[in-house]
Each structure stands twice: as structure tokens, then as C-alpha cells.
Symmetry: C2
Subunit: 414 residues, 2 copies
């Protein structure tokens, strides 16, 4: 994919948006990735949608790899299924609405109430199990305050995976696979090193559940990172838990963190109210054992901005940058166009700043704010020597290379 900046309808904004207090949303708005429609409600603009889709696709690939089958459940969910699980009154922050068919609905804040009867319809015997269903869908939560930008929205995206098993042992095997898939995802998103498997309380069915927490000063959570292994425990359990449940270590460091995923052994919590059972080899009936696994792509996008930025703007990890190369022409559009076409045909994703009426300083400031991994600058001076300037967003050094050697240099850097 490629795009000329003169074509893009969005522009960067110099002023920090007044009605927004979070760094991630302020910066994403200034750089033209999102627009704010209301508190906790955003439009994804062309640059932001590109990043969101890249995050979604990485998640999709890794969840497909552990056998997740993608579906798309509705956002509009009937009252009855929430009553079945006793969550119509008890689920925090459900948006409720009345239909002109005299029925009541909730906007999906999570989808156990939809996926459980769905799985039930297609499960006739133990031979149909296990399987796992997921979606990447919009969720709605009626938050009183929504001040953390993309970290806590009233409307946000979620990958939610649900698995169905004949036994706890079978769930345990799958749970472990998904845990590994989550690590793979965070690694590919550039968050691997700073994201910790975090033990949290587990409910009736298992001693622990797990959160994935990314260390970040903007985080609303406190976690306690084991100094011996790459895991942590959350605030909820630090009081009763003196040892690391992963390795037995007992030296912890307190860190602020953002929850970027959670996985949970549900057991029979949802299968029981729906009467979701299976028949085993002997015709005996058993309750279905479930797991659920959440991860929020839009929250992850906000987290990455909180983690990867400097005073000039965003510094996108390569795998999810809106474009890998930002080509800037300083009034050398004829030659820059050739380079642009050459980069495109070599498979690079290029944003090309071909705008005439914008100064060099503004173009550089925009490139730093938008944060593509590589910046190329073609100026009268470099062109006179048949050269081009190349700079990584995350480094300060500038290199001047021959235009003929550009592709080789780029392939080494990306």
C-alpha cells in the first residue's frame, strides 16, 4: 500500500486537543490517526485504520494458528440471554436499549451469552469437541468516565476467543497453547520484552487466571514483577501471595502497567445456565468446560503509542507502522515521483509527502509526529549529487546514500 500525502484528507494538528487528557489520544488526534467523537468514542482515520488492521491481522494469524474459527457475532444482544446467566442486572456498564418490537437489548460488552448457545447448537457429542470460536468485534461499555483515550473507551475493539472442552485437562492443554499464542502476538507487536504474564485471582474453577500486562508509566494497574522470571502478580493477589506462582521467587518490583489481554478458565460458569452438555463414549452426560481469552486491538494501539514515542511524536514498531517508509520531497517532485514508484514496485509501503505549499520544517515535524520507521528526504542538495537522505525514526543519525543504492539500504534497515 502507498499514498500521497496531498491525497490524504487528514492533516496533522499543532495544538494539543483541549478536551482530551490522555497522551495516546492527544497524539493520535494530532497526528491524524483518530478523531474524537465523544468521551471514549473515536473515529479511526485512514492512518489509524491501517495500524488497527495490521494489529488485527497479526492477532488473527496467531489465533487461527491455534485453531480459532473466526465468526462475527452481533453487537445487539437480546435481554433473555443475559437473564439466563443472571447478568442483565449484574454486569457492570451494560448499555441497554428498547426495541420497537417491545423487546429489550444490550449492546454486547462481551459475548459469552451469545457464543455459548451458538456452540451448543453444533455440539452433539464428545466427538465434536474441542473447538474454539473467536471474533474481532466492537464492544460497548457504559463507562461513567472515559479519560484514558484508547485505553478505556465506551466503544472499542476486542478479539474474544472462546473454547469448549470435555474436561479440565483438555482445557488446560488448550489454555497453554493460547498463552503461547498471546506471547507470539505481543512479540510481533513490538511489546514482547515489556509484557508480563500476570497472575490474578481465578474464580471458582481455577486458582489463577492470567492477565498480560505491559509496563508503562501511563498504566492504571499496578503489577509486581518477579525479579527471577518473566512473570508478575497483580495487586489483587500480592497480599496473600508471597511467592511467584511461576518460579517460586519472592523478590518483586512494583510497576505501573496496562492490561493488554486476559485469559480465563470459565469452567461451567456459562455452560451450566444454558444447559450446555455433551455425551461421552458411554452415553454419559457431562457439562461443557469453557475458556475465554480477550485482547483489545484498539487498546493495544493506544498502549503502543504510550510506550513508543518521544517528544516529537510516535515511533511505530515496524510490523504495525501505517507505512514503513515516509518519503519527503523538498520541491524535487519529478525525481521523488520516480523513487516513489520504484519503492512501490519493490514492495515497500510508502507514504509520500508531495505537498507543494508546506515548508521543509513542517514536513519534518509531520514525519516525526506520524512516526513511520524510515524517513527519506530528497532535497536540491542531495539530488545534485544523485543522493538521498535516510534516517530511522528511532535514531538520530542521518545517512546520505546514492539513489541507486537506496533499495539495498532500505532492505538492510527494515
Amino acid at each position: 500500500m502507498y499514498m500521497k500525502q496531498s491525497f490524504l484528507f487528514t492533516k496533522t494538528i499543532k495544538e494539543i486537543p483541549k478536551d482530551e487528557t490522555s497522551y495516546n489520544a492527544q497524539t493520535l488526534m494530532r497526528a491524524g490517526f483518530v478523531d474524537k467523537v465523544g468521551a471514549g468514542i473515536y473515529t479511526f482515520l485512514p492512518l489509524g485504520l491501517r495500524v488497527l488492521n495490521k494489529i488485527n491481522n497479526i492477532i488473527r494469524e496467531e489465533i487461527n494458528a491455534v485453531g480459532g474459527q473466526e465468526v462475527l457475532m452481533p453487537a445487539l444482544t437480546p435481554k433473555e440471554v443475559w437473564q439466563t446467566t443472571d447478568r442483565w442486572e449484574n454486569f457492570d456498564a451494560l448499555f441497554k436499549l428498547a426495541g420497537s418490537d417491545d423487546k429489550e437489548y444490550a449492546m454486547g460488552a462481551t459475548h459469552e451469552e451469545i457464543v455459548t448457545p451458538l456452540a451448543q447448537k453444533f455440539t452433539l457429542s464428545y466427538r465434536d469437541l474441542p473447538f474454539a470460536i473467536y471474533q474481532i468485534q466492537t464492544k460497548f461499555r457504559n463507562e461513567k468516565r472515559a479519560k484514558a483515550g484508547l485505553l478505556r473507551g465506551r466503544e472499542f475493539s476486542m478479539k474474544d476467543l472462546y473454547s469448549f472442552h470435555v474436561s479440565q485437562e483438555d482445557l488446560d492443554i488448550y489454555y497453554k497453547k493460547v498463552k503461547q499464542a498471546y506471547f507470539n502476538i505481543y512479540k510481533r507487536l513490538g511489546l514482547g520484552e515489556i509484557t508480563y504474564l500476570t497472575y490474578s485471582s481465578g474464580g471458582a474453577f481455577s486458582k489463577y487466571s492470567h492477565e498480560f500486562q505491559t509496563i508503562c508509566p501511563a498504566g492504571e494497574d499496578l503489577i509486581y514483577v518477579c525479579q527471577k522470571c518473566h512473570s508478575a502478580i497483580n495487586k489483587e493477589i500480592i497480599e496473600e501471595q508471597k511467592d511467584c506462582p511461576e518460579c517460586g521467587g519472592h523478590d518483586f518490583k512494583e510497576e505501573k502497567a496496562i492490561e493488554v489481554g486476559n485469559i480465563f478458565k470459565l469452567g461451567t460458569k456459562f455452560s451450566k445456565p444454558f444447559g450446555f452438555q455433551y455425551k461421552d463414549q458411554l452415553g454419559e452426560v457431562g457439562d461443557i468446560i469453557m475458556g475465554c481469552y480477550g485482547m483489545g486491538p484498539s487498546r493495544i494501539l493506544g498502549t503502543i503509542v504510550e510506550v513508543y514515542h518521544d517528544e516529537r511524536g510516535i515511533v511505530w514498531p515496524e510490523n504495525i507502522a501505517p507505512f514503513s517508509v515516509h518519503l519527503i520531497s523538498l520541491k524535487q517532485n519529478e525525481e521523488a515521483e520516480k523513487i516513489y514508484q520504484n519503492l512501490i514496485s519493490s514492495g515497500f509501503e510508502v507514504l509520500y509527502d508531495d505537498r507543494d505549499e508546506i515548508s521543509a520544517g513542517e514536513k519534518f515535524a509531520d514525519a516525526d509526529l506520524i512516526g513511520c520507521p524510515v524517513r527519506l528526504v530528497l532535497s536540491p542538495k542531495t539530488l545534485s549529487e544523485n543522493k538521498i537522505e535516510i534516517k530511522l525514526r528511532k535514531k538520530d543519525e542521518i545517512e546520505i546514500v546514492g539513489i541507486g543504492d537506496l533499495l539495498t539500504h532500505l532492505k538492510n534497515k527494515l
Copy 2:
């Protein structure tokens, strides 16, 4: 993409669903493409989501080709913007809800109220115009009755494109381009021949707007097809309009049809209430002229099922079939697995029925119901001669071809 049917968690259903009256939803439910959650509310299952994504991608390619810039606006929209355009009380079938922040919201039934102020933020002068913004988003409508399956849902998908111009002439040029893009889309979806540009009443700004209507006995609309050219007029205007607005012909044939798209010259209807203006070359201020262009991917999916089926099930057009090839093994799984792998590595999209406990008759019935364009059957008899059976879903003839020649035969047929 490829999939083994033993892996797929959905199954076909023999009985016609009792609580569903429309053919499209009954059949999509029986074949495992959608599941019904409530009246006019469906889950897209793995097969259905594949088709929906293919439709979305064809639309996306053609709208990108006419310069549409993709965004994703929220479904949750604040009351204030609907009050600005006087539609909070007047828009038919808005789902409304109350936030715990003491604000009221509508679930987006259309997005003029969101896109107009968005475009306004980034439009400083005539030099920024024209541009066009679109999304593929879920829409919500509080329908009293929802009986037409995917043709009229409470929750449904929509591609909505909006364009912004300095003048009526500039809008006219763009409107014509989008009209052509729509024809391209219907052609690629297999609906070209039976979809008519249909004149309808146009509001204050233009004499006509246009619907795209697909002829189909299940249609809720009546259109009058000009017998001289490939266009039609709708019921609304047949009484005052005696001649075809396209060619002047006056011989019409009444047909039932489904509206699969509409395009509309909005003029200043939305720019005026938002005070959305531009400055021209001389510094003079003018109102922005807008167009809007809708198309519903989930409704199109339902339409295709209404149009392309026989008594045994769906007959998908090739471009949007969930898989192009349905390979059936009749207890020849070892050899079938080789053919499956060979088809995959040759780039075919294959659904492979590797299920052991299912009879040949049931496998054939499933294949006909699911409706992939090509069916391959490997049986003991064909395998003994190193051959395989090949049949097109839309034809009755069966061919027996050498396994070594299979790829060549498939390439000729697909």
C-alpha cells in the same frame, strides 16, 4: 484459504428453521453460514464471514479506485449531532440509549452526522477539495418487523461513502464515477445483468437520485424496467414520469426487485446545519456540496442467495463463494489428502469433506446446500482407475477426469 470439514464447528441443518420466514436466512442457517440471534440479528459463521469479507473486499477495491479513503466511524453517536440536523426526533427507527455520563446516544443508522463535522475539521480551503470518505461499518435500525432475513436487519453491514465538493458540477463528475464503480461491483458480484440503475425522486437538490435494484421474486420493491435501455424507474416516480429519464423510451416492464445500493446528491442538506463552508480563490465563502453513496454487503449476501439457488441449495457466483472447490472423499482419505494439499499449493481455495462417519448421500447433499462452484468426488471406483469426478454446482453433468489432469481441468472451469 482451505479448511477440512471435520475441523469446521458448524454443521448443516436438515430442518427448515421454524422461526424464520425468509428463504435467504432459512437457507443460510441450514447451510451453516449464519445463525439467528434474534429477529433481524444474525451471527456470521465461518463460511458466512468468508463470503461477507469477499463482498467487502470487492466493494473496497472499487471504492478505493474512485479515491475513497477508508475510515471507521463509531456506532455510538452523540445526541447533539442528530439535533444539529433535526434528525434526533425525525429519523425513522433510531435506536437510542442513555449513557451513565448523563448523555444520550443513538446507534448509528447512517453517518452523515459524524462524517460532516469530521470532513469540516480538515477542510481549510478550496484546495483541500474534493475528497471522499467511506467506511464498511455495522448499522443499527430499530425496525418494528424484521422478516426478510438478511435483506432487512436490525443490525446489518453498510458501505457508506460521502463526497465533498466546491460545486454542483464537481459533485456531478464524481457522482458519475461512483455510478460506474457501482456497476463494476455488481458485475464482479455476479449481479451485473439483473441489476438496474433505477431513477427515484431526488429531493431539493437534484431532480433524481438513483437506486440500484436487483430483479428478484423475493424483492419488496416494484420497479419499471425500460425495455429500450438497461435502466428503470421506481414506483415513487412512475406516476408522473411517462418517459425513461435515461433514454426517453416509454415501454416499461414491472418487476419485483431488491434495492442493493443507492446514490444521492445531498447538496447542502448536511453542510448547512454544521456551517461547513470553504473559501475559494478570491477568499469568498461557499457552502460545501455533498454526495452520499450507500451499499449493504450483508443485504447483498442475502440477495445473492435469493437469486442464485435451486431446490438443493445455494449456487454461489465464483468471486464470492466461500471456497471455489469442495473436495469430497468417500473413504479415500489418504489419496484425497494428497489431492487436497496439491490443490492448496496450486492456489485453489478448498473445502475438504474428510468426515468419516457421514454417508456419501449426506456429503453430496451438504455440498449442494453449501454451494461451492466445483465439486470433486474421490470414490473407491474412480480411484481404482486413478480418476476423480468433477461437477459444477450450476450444471448437472458429471465428468470423470484423470487425477493427473485435474489442475488443468479446474483452471479451465474456474
